[in-house]
Amino acid sequence: MEASLKARTPRPANGPLHRLSNLLYRKPNLYLALLLIPPLLWFGAVYFGSLLTLLWQGFYTFDDYSMTVTPQLTLDNLAALFLPANYDIILRTLSMAIAVSLASALLAFPIAYYMARYTSGKTKAFFYIAVMLPMWASYIVKTYAWTLLLAKGGVAQWFVDQLGLAPVLHFILSIPGVGGSTLSTSHLGRFLVFLYIWLPFMILPIQAALERLPPSLLQASADLGARPWQTFVQVILPLSIPGIAAGSIFTFSLTLGDFIVPQLIGPPGFFIGSMVYVQQGAVGNMPMAAAFTLVPIVLIAIYLSIVKRLGAFDAL
């Protein structure tokens, strides 16, 4: 009897949580502010604070003799970016980023096209996971795997020997600007590793763009008399360009900022990332390192403004 009476009595609705809930209901702006304050504080203080510090320190003075930094403002670091030696570094990194983006678009397109147009249900899920897995698999381990693959006496060598392609490899490695003394110290090797590591980032946006393309569009094109290759060139390709552009944002900017792959595979010669790393670490010239980070930021900003016109942001 008592139990049922108790059950019938509604819980008093005036606890502190209930009152807070009433207050927040009446003041939606307060509620919004309470939600936003923690992330804004974190990003404002930690992240933007750091970025501003970095920018500011790019104007500090580094004394070459005493190897010390003084907070005296100077434009020397920015000017030094335009030295021919640094110019080489920028050009080397930039050309690699462009080559990797182009090649991954070429390689990714058929995979994405097959995924979007010819798979459904379980096969589509399988392909999706099969692209996501290598994308998320450890970056450093993937790079390590390629040092194993490309090493002298390693897997690549073994396959080349088995197939009797040693002379071909030898010829490719002798091409200047592409080759090198061995696969693992060649431009080609470094290019392959970059291509491998960033390829999934290109596949998924293209696949998403193709997936959005309604089948009726292709039927309409065929209905109007287009042959399959005409449909491909006139309809499919133009509509997949935003996806390609979106994917290239990743391949381009990730290659541009990398310093681990250039350090482990390929011929000597700095990338932008390695330059920043060495200036800060080995040399201790934080101002120069800070100034150098402006290079990828500016290049990426330029790149984004180009691909934005191709509709990349709608396909992200």
Partner: protein
Amino acid sequence: MVFLLELLDMTLAVQFTGVSRVFGEVKAVDQVSIDIQDGEFFSMLGPSGSGKTTCLRLIAGFEQPSAGSIRIHGQEAVGLAPYQRDVNTVFQDYALFPHMNVLDNVAYGLKVKGVGKSERYARAEETLALVALDGYGARKPAQLSGGQRQRVALARALVNRPRVLLLDEPLGALDLKLREQMQGELKKLQRQLGITFIFVTHDQTEALSMSDRVAVFNKGRIEQVDSPRNLYMKPATAFVAEFVGTSNVLRGELAKRLTGQALPFSIRPEHIRFADDQAAGSGEVEVCGLLHDIQYQGAATRYEIQLENGQNLSISQANDQWQAGAPVYQPGQPVTARWARAAMIALQDAIPGEGR
């Protein structure tokens, strides 16, 4: 005296006084005043964007008015959160909690009020029986048909025994047969429980067939509040005449010639007939025109006539003879239409400010 007035107010379930709701530049609800009686089946009818749903959300507490007062059973509701109001809602998309089974969905209102487990399940079962869904408690909403989900949403909203039930186009997603069946059941349920139903719909047939009274909304304002019969027979404005049922609204010189007044008037198509050989009676008026289209609609046939002044006139004639005679009229033929003077309803030009 004040005490007496408040007592009078208690018979009002919901009272809007000069309520407005502005979203940015848009006046979704503009100076609306309504009195909804306790125990009434009240419908809010209007096209989409006319403000009817916003009014419902204002009663539920999902929106707060920009101006005006809303009283629910005499108590000022402005500033109260939805959970502080004794009203419950049946949502257009049902809004069943997908992670709970049917019984937990229905028992939710009792759970958050702190009602013990055994009692709330017993009462939830009872309410499920009320909507003829006993035995479905263990299913997930995704395993139900559209009509069943609709009933669960109804049971969930009724479990708290609210004094006012809000229904936001609850039948819109159902097919025609099911919708007609649910209309009957809702009406029966409302009589049985005796609680106030406030029903939002854009379907005029639905509003007419179920309601005690209907408010017709247009552009955030109320054009007319009346019983279904009055709404149809005596529309106050051109908008009501044309939105509720089909109407011929005639204006200008023609209206003046026929009624002697400058106001536009409405005449229902089924109140017009073709002139026969006899002369028009004193209580009748006549117009001439060209028959340009005939639509056979089954129970009735619709004739479209182009009048001499360019206006269109629709005539509807019941096909109430079981023997199909040869069609009398052909498109392109000049015809004379005739109707009783008393069948013409004079309309107000402007929207009235108050909807009471």
